[in-house]
């Protein structure tokens, strides 16, 4: 079974079966606002960013060591 059966579809049907914010024009015109960052959240984001960078350095060291 495939969803090809209802080939003919009217704009009324589109508005009926899709939720309002599911339409492309709605998604393009409405944006969620930025959330407020608490100091704790900001610290966590930076800590994880530093963690990723340090770990990438660790991997680079491991790769160089193995290749040599």
């Amino acid at each position: 079974m495939s969803p090809r059966a209802p080939q003919e579809i009217r704009s009324d049907d589109v508005l009926k079966v899709l939720e309002d914010d599911q339409l492309v024009v709605a998604k393009e015109s409405v944006h969620l606002g930025l959330r407020r960052f608490s100091p704790a959240l900001r610290f966590t984001l930076w800590a994880l960013r530093i963690y990723v960078v340090l770990m990438l350095v660790v991997i680079a060291v491991e790769v160089v060591r193995t290749v040599r």
Binding site: Q22, L23, L34, L54
Partner: protein, 456 residues
Amino acid sequence: MDDARWDPKGPGAADASPLITHEDLDRARDRLAVDRARQSGGFRALRVFWLLLGPGILVFLGENDAPSMLSYAATGAHFGIGFFLPFVLVTFLVGFVVQEMVLRLGAVTHRGHAELIFDRFGPFWGWFAMGDLALGNFLTLVTEFIGVRAGLGYFGVPPLVAVGGALALMLLIAMSGRYWTWERATLTLAAFNGLFIVVALLAHPNFAAIGHAFLTWGPMPALNGNMLLLLVSDVGATVTPWMLFFQQSSVVDKGLQPRDINSSRVDALLGTFLAALFGIGAIVACAPLFIHGVSAGNFQGAQFAQALRPWIGPVGAALFALGIAEAGLVAIITISTSSAYAFGEVLHSGHSLNRPLREAWPFYAVLLLSGILAAALVLLPGAPLEYIILIVNVIAVLAMPPALLFVLLLVNDPAVMGEHRNGPWANILGGGIAALLIGIGLFYGLTVAFPHLIGS
């Protein structure tokens, strides 16, 4: 959600039809079919599920990619049947917990993961997330092409033909102009991941040992550098950033809604168990190499197949090589699509498989370019390919904690999720998984900095 919602039935939008795009029409067709299936007679639940399944199975079978299957193969060859069998099942359950959150995000917000991160956290943090995704996806794509080249190389297919053919097939499926067609074609290819179960059966596994492994988590291998690398790599074979971006965007592209969340959970759970089963199949298939003391230090797909041939026969070896090629091919499709979705969302250009090329050429350009660059790198000779494959999975684990933090923040955001936000148990599990991944990463880092902490 912003209070200023767009109302297609409100004043100023009396004639909504000009605002309805080709993408909306295709998505509405899919939704109408689901609605009709819900009102139909016999086997209604089955029909509805058939229409709604896809993103969950695809994300997990897509993650059973070439590096993952080779990581499982290496695990079986190094450690045989034991601790890693239940361990792999648990890593997939961890993957399910994470993916359940993103499928909810997609169904409730109708926005992709990259779009949500940029909207709620701004471009500064958004571009960091995109950087992690781009680097991880590119390196992983390289390894997928390595898998295709190695798998098809077993049958004598020249590297250029294997890599070019995979690229062409990826484009052909993507250019169908319809999410539904793309999804079903990719699902059909993904079903061949089950070849690893056939190969496992051809290896005449010791079912008593398998049962013992699941009951006792043993035999437990000695902790050394090799074991730790495979352990981190096996975790990276089930939880990676691209999975978050892919599943959320494909849920949106498929047009799923909050009332579909339970069906989507079943879809993801089915994908979880199928992927775990096939991954465990790869471990069991390669256990004869451990039993007979064959060193699999730098094996690629075709070499595993060659080495296994005395125990699984020529048909089993051919199926193993085909399975590696298939795993790479499906992941090439899903991973490059996740890159295309994410960049389309961030650049505010068309980002749907329901859009034709002329309406969403940047989306298809990212799809094509990421594939071409990765394919070109694979054709360069002389790289330590097996090692690259394991390292790619390790990078995936290390990049996961910040990605998981964004998921947890978004899925707990009442302005985004409303009544569908996380409950306490989901937060405990999600937070625990993030802590576990950080712990594994830090331990791995310590063993690299201080190799004498554990044996080599």
